[in-house]
């Protein structure tokens, strides 16, 4: 917002909120300035007129004036601060008219023009960026910008300024979903400051009450929320005689609470009043209008009126699309020109729900279910686009939870249609597609981005710069995770580095259009491709867990089948099986693993000999090989007896992996270094009380002999030479096999702290190879073995899967991985590993490892000392 200049009458009208009169005076002024060739006066008055139009909700004129001001500045040399102000006005007008993308563009331009990034003007830019990023659910980024603005404002203005209150207000809003107490703390601080500056009956106080109401509503403190909304309503009524967006927003809040309390008629009345106000102010197209239709539809759906609800959701969809008109209720829009992607996603999702309700409660028409399925397909397409605007991985992962619901609904409908229509295969494919899309989406797009870089001709110098930035971020993230007390300084540095990386990547996108095109290419998942890639006799079993049901798609060379099983006690069974294996409680193990076998393993065709499991959620922690089909003569019959078993993070990654294994370029890559064997043996230099692993020395020595005898070469690094810096060298890509016999730790709450222990050589290479560092390794190995504890575990992220070391290694280029699901004795591990390599070296040109691991496991099952699954089950193969 611009500060007052000499034109006092216009300014005082503006300050008094008489925007229409103020805008007329400013318009007269800029015309006079233009006549006098007073460029500065012209631009200044133009911008003030634009601000006045924003005040009177005429955003189109405001945006036009801001554009004119920017064009004029381009023609004349203008001060950078004036550019920043013009962009701020432009951003505000776009933001309020619902064009978040345009607002973001303007603010990015404003940021570029900043001369001093610790000035109050910079704080205003950061604050507005925070608002815009919050609007498109880039919460982590938004928080970073608001923190930055708060830091600047506090440093320059002290703790009591109203601009500081603005930052508190915005931070409070962001914290609502994740930390209620923190949110309330910020909002209370804002309220105190606003009251002292503006009094009880002010717009600012009312806005704070609105946010306090939202926070309490989120926490289900309904009475408090109602109280705050009533207070807000009173203030708005005293400030605004007619329609106003703030008034409408409060009505929406009231309607939402009424809906939750089951007072549907009252809720509908409030929502319709809000709709009327919004339409009066914004016209037909605006995210708030879309949101209001969404609420009205929700009320109608709750009232058992799916037809009316469907029409409201369709209106919500089209109110969010700039150049598309509502024609009929079944029409699906083209995903172009949307104002708010998240609201559009919700509207599509709700429309699908309404169609489903219409089908099951009224019509029973198949067309309503197929239309719902199409809505979910469109949701999936939109999710791909939303992922592109989520800049931060944690925000992308958060989107996974929303995506999970969409895919779960899609799978449920597709599964129903598959069993209730004559086109079963088509719907099985649709269900499998949704299952696939629900897995490792973030990892997949990250790998896609890496491939895009390698095909876009980006110079090495730029790639190196990016690599350095990523290393720096990984290091800072690790430091942040390690020492939560030193958040402020580290946080600020991390924020700056992330910003730098983001800016760098955006520049790459602009400079190398091919990179942009490849990076954002729609994933083209091809089942026929998968079927033709699968080795003969292999069945891919892709799972999806939804509440108490588990879906399993079985893909073989020629067929696709879909199974649904009731799995009400799945979590209990999984932990029961894992614990009974780890602590060797045989009766409990047999019981739980037999139950899981029944729930997870469908009847398979006779020629199937290998299973490729694509697990979902906590299923990633189950060693399927140890599932017991039956107990015969006192001996459990394991799945490993029937099939060779391996795992994949997603079917798409399997296709990529299989293709890479046979890609001429990859095949011809220099992997002349053979196997690299790393065994630090002693871990005294690490602070953690890690036992030494003398068996690991024997393990790597024996494997080395095996390789030397069969095919060589074998490079062994023991103790001090098993160092972190060696792993980070470029020659790592020349090894066909990497074998780490060491300790590993997976941090399930902070996956970034998961690590493999090596030897330290410098402060930055401290011997802990963290997950974030693994992402930046250059691996091209056909097999990476982590002969270490629990390296196959991680944090189960909804909609993404297991986030841990295996994910990082897959990203870094490992084609196949052997990791472990729980700590195992040194001797048993050595035995299994040596046997595995013996099996493999009998046919070393064959890069299918599942049979070799199965043979090694069967050897242990048949042995005297290690037949218990505790010894052989934890090591699993990710790959084939």
């Amino acid at each position: 917002m611009l500060t007052a200049q000499p034109y006092q009458k216009a300014d005082s009208l503006y300050e008094a909120g008489q925007y229409e009169s103020a805008s007329r005076l400013y318009e007269e002024r800029f015309k006079v300035s233009a006549g006098n060739n007073d460029q500065y006066g012209f631009i200044w008055n133009l911008l003030m007129a634009a601000n006045s139009h924003i005040g009177s909700h005429d955003y189109l004129t405001a945006s036009r004036y801001a554009d004119t001001a920017l064009d004029s500045m381009a023609a004349y040399a203008s001060a950078p601060s004036l550019w920043v102000r013009a962009y701020l006005v432009k951003a505000e007008s776009e933001l309020k008219s619902g064009r978040n993308d345009q607002a973001l563009e303007a603010l990015k331009n404003a940021k570029v023009k900043l001369e001093n990034d610790t000035s109050l003007l910079a704080a205003e830019v950061y604050n507005d960026l925070g608002v815009v990023y919050w609007n498109n659910n880039n919460t982590t980024l938004a928080k970073g910008y608001h923190q930055k603005a708060l830091t600047i404002r506090t440093a320059q203005l002290g703790n009591a300024h109203e601009l500081v209150a603005d930052s508190y207000l915005n931070l409070g809003l962001i914290y609502i979903p994740e930390d209620f107490l923190q949110a309330i703390t910020y909002l209370d601080k804002a309220l105190g400051l606003y009251k002292s500056h503006h009094g009880e009956n002010s717009e600012e106080v009312a806005l704070t009450y609105t946010n306090l109401a939202s926070a309490n509503k989120y926490e289900k403190n309904t009475l408090e929320a109602i109280t705050y909304l009533d207070r807000t309503d009173q203030i708005w009524n005293s400030l605004y005689p007619g329609s106003h967006p703030n008034k409408a927003f409060t009505k929406i809040g009231q309607a939402e609470i009424l809906l939750e309390s089951g007072k549907l008629d009252e809720a509908q009345a409030k929502a319709e009043t809000a709709l009327q106000m919004y339409t009066e102010i914004y016209g037909e197209k605006h995210p708030e209008i879309a949101n209001t239709y969404l609420l009205i539809g929700e009320i109608q759906l709750t009232a058992g009126k799916p037809k009316l609800a469907m029409a409201s959701f369709q209106r919500a969809i089209y109110a969010n699309l700039q150049n598309q008109l509502y024609t009929n209720v079944f029409e699906l829009p083209s995903l172009e020109g949307y104002l708010n992607a998240d609201i559009l996603l919700s509207a599509l999702q709700y429309k699908a729900k309404a169609l489903e309700a219409l089908h099951y409660d009224q019509s029973l028409k198949p067309k309503h279910l197929t239309a719902a399925l199409l809505c979910y397909e469109l949701c999936d397409e939109l999710l791909t686009k939303i992922r592109q605007i989520r800049k931060n991985e944690s925000d992308q992962l958060r989107l996974g939870a929303v995506a999970h619901n969409i895919y779960a609904e899609g799978i449920r409908i597709a599964s129903y249609l598959a069993s209730h229509s004559m086109s079963a295969t088509r719907y099985r494919l649709a269900a499998f597609y949704f299952m696939e899309r629900s897995k490792a989406a973030v990892l997949h797009s990250a790998i896609n981005e890496t491939h895009a870089k390698s095909f876009a001709g980006i110079p090495d110098s730029l790639l190196l710069k990016e690599e350095n930035l990523k290393d720096k971020i990984a290091y800072l993230e690790w430091q942040m995770a390690q020492s939560p007390t030193g958040l402020d300084s580290l946080g600020s540095l991390l924020f700056q580095s992330r910003n730098e990386l983001q800016g760098f990547l955006e520049r790459l996108e602009r400079q190398f259009p091919k990179y942009y095109e490849l990076k954002y290419a729609k994933p083209d998942f091809d089942v026929a491709d998968l079927q033709s890639s699968l080795p003969s006799g292999t069945a891919l079993l892709s799972y999806f867990i939804d509440k108490d049901e588990t879906y399993c798609a079985v893909v073989t060379e020629k067929k696709i089948e879909l199974y649904t099983k009731d799995t009400p006690d799945f979590a209990r069974l999984v932990s029961g099986m894992r614990n009974s294996m780890k602590y060797r409680i045989r009766p409990a193990f047999i019981k739980s693993s037999q139950q899981l076998y029944d729930q997870l393993i469908p009847d398979l065709q006779e020629h199937i000999s290998q299973l490729l499991i694509v697990p979902h959620g906590m299923m990633s922690t189950v060693p399927f090989e140890a599932l017991v089909s039956e107990v015969s003569e006192g001996q459990p019959q394991y799945l490993a007896h029937q099939y060779a078993v391996s795992y994949a993070l997603s079917a798409q990654l399997t296709i990529d992996n299989l293709k890479a294994a046979y890609r001429p370029a990859d095949h011809g890559a220099d992997k002349s270094n053979g196997i690299l064997l790393m065994a630090p043996v002693d871990f005294k230099q690490h602070n953690e009380s890690l036992s030494s692993l003398p068996g690991s020395r024997e393990e790597v020595k024996e494997i080395r002999y095996l390789f030397l005898a069969e095919k060589g070469p074998a490079h062994m690094r023991l103790q001090h030479s098993a160092s972190e810096d060696f792993i980070k060298c470029d020659s790592l890509a020349m090894y066909k096999y990497l074998h780490f016999a060491t300790h590993g730790v997976v941090n399930e709450s902070k996956p970034a702290l998961s690590r493999i222990f090596l030897n330290a050589t410098s402060p930055s290479n401290d011997g802990s190879l963290y997950s974030g560092e693994i992402y930046n390794l250059k691996i091209n190995a056909d097999l990476v073995t982590l002969s270490a504890c629990e390296t196959g575990l991680g944090k189960v992220e909804v909609g993404e899967g297991l986030v841990g070391l295996s994910r990082s290694l897959t990203y870094a280029g490992a084609h196949n991985l052997i990791v472990s699901l729980w700590p195992v004795s040194d001797a048993a591990t050595t035995g299994l590993m040596v046997q595995f390599y013996k099996e493999h070296l009998h046919h070393s040109m064959n890069m299918i490892f599942a049979d070799d691991l199965r043979s090694a496991k069967l050897e242990m099952i048949n042995s005297e000392n290690y037949s218990d699954p505790y010894f052989w089950a934890p090591f699993v193969l990710i790959g084939l």
Partner: protein, 329 residues
């Protein structure tokens, strides 16, 4: 196959909703015009369409159908001799919660044959059913009764008509049964035990001597003061259920354990009637179309494969077509 938006958009075009009603109508017309089917008909004394034992039962765990239903059913059967039996059944089911239902079935019947025409209210069936809903199947048990509304003594021009022409069987029966239904199969079994006999039929061949019917009147078995023996039934159906239509085939076996009894006016005593016990076997075909959650139409066609030799109760049919309209509310 490449998965992206056009896949479903191009291939999942909703099918015309008129397609299945049309198929249904064609089937109905076909069956209605198929009197030349020369098999033997059904011999159901009422329990085969009662509660858990009825054919073509709805099975859909996703759709919560309304608990009350009125089914109006038109039934047409060709009997052993000339009579064509037509009936309209009003079948009212009243659900009490998810697991209980009571059913009342009130038929109105017309019979037209060479010996004459009769019409009137048929025997009323009342039953209560308890369902046990499981994830993959539903179990149902039924306890019911058939209440006679007459004594089977409707007369023609020459005295009492044979049982084929009677609209009531003249007995009060107890019915017990159960079923197991899943997505593909329906298994139902039950017994119908006559408890009170009020049959006063007095059809005699001699009354039709020297009439135009004299030649074939002997084809109608005597059923004077008939006492039907208990029946047991076993129904097995394989169903194909789709989103809003279904069809299926099945068999219905009805076994009469004992011989029927009748009054022999020549000996002036009640005698057992030879060849009235044994198996009767029917082949069934059914189709249904759910117009929406409230309205549905159904058709069941039954063809007799095996019959008892003597059927004094007049329940033997060549073939039966039953067409129903169901209104749920």
């Amino acid at each position: 196959m490449v998965f992206h938006k056009p896949l479903l958009i191009s291939t999942l075009k909703p099918k015309g909703s008129l397609a299945w009603p049309m198929v249904f109508m064609i089937l109905v017309i076909f069956f209605m015009n198929a009197p030349s089917a020369q098999g033997q008909g059904c011999s159901d004394a009422g329990f085969c369409t009662m509660g858990a034992m009825r054919p073509d039962q709805t099975y859909n765990k996703e759709v919560k159908f309304r608990l009350r239903a009125l089914e109006v059913n038109y039934y047409r059967g060709e009997s052993l001799a000339t009579p064509i039996i037509s009936a309209v059944n009003a079948d009212f089911t009243f659900g009490i919660g998810e697991n209980y239902a009571i059913q009342a079935k009130i038929p109105f019947q017309w019979v037209k044959g060479q010996l004459g025409e009769t019409q009137g209210l048929g025997d009323i069936s009342l039953s209560a059913t308890r369902s046990f809903e499981k994830k993959d199947y539903t179990l149902g048990i039924t306890l019911g009764a058939k209440v006679a509304v007459g004594n089977a003594s409707k007369e023609g021009s020459n005295g009492d008509l044979p049982m084929y022409y009677q609209t009531s069987l003249g007995s009060y029966d107890l019915v017990l049964g159960g079923s197991l239904i899943n997505d593909k199969w329906l298994l139902a079994t039950g017994v119908q035990i006559p408890i009170i006999h009020r049959n006063e039929n007095d059809f005699r061949w001699g009354h039709w001597k020297e009439t135009e019917h004299e030649e074939y009147v002997f084809e109608y078995n005597l059923a004077n003061q008939l006492q039907r023996a208990p029946d047991a039934m076993l129904r097995v159906e394989r169903n194909w259920r789709y989103v809003n239509y279904n069809f299926g085939i099945g068999t219905l076996a009805i076994y009469r354990f004992l011989k029927d009894k009748r009054y022999d006016f020549q000996q002036d005593k009640t005698i057992q009637v030879a060849k009235t016990s044994g198996l009767s076997l029917n082949l069934l075909a059914n189709a249904g179309y759910q117009i929406n959650v409230r309205h549905a139409i159904k058709a069941v066609y039954a063809l007799k494969l095996l019959a008892r030799e003597i059927n004094p109760d007049g329940l033997s049919r060549h073939a039966v077509l039953s067409v129903s309209y169901v209104y749920r509310f």
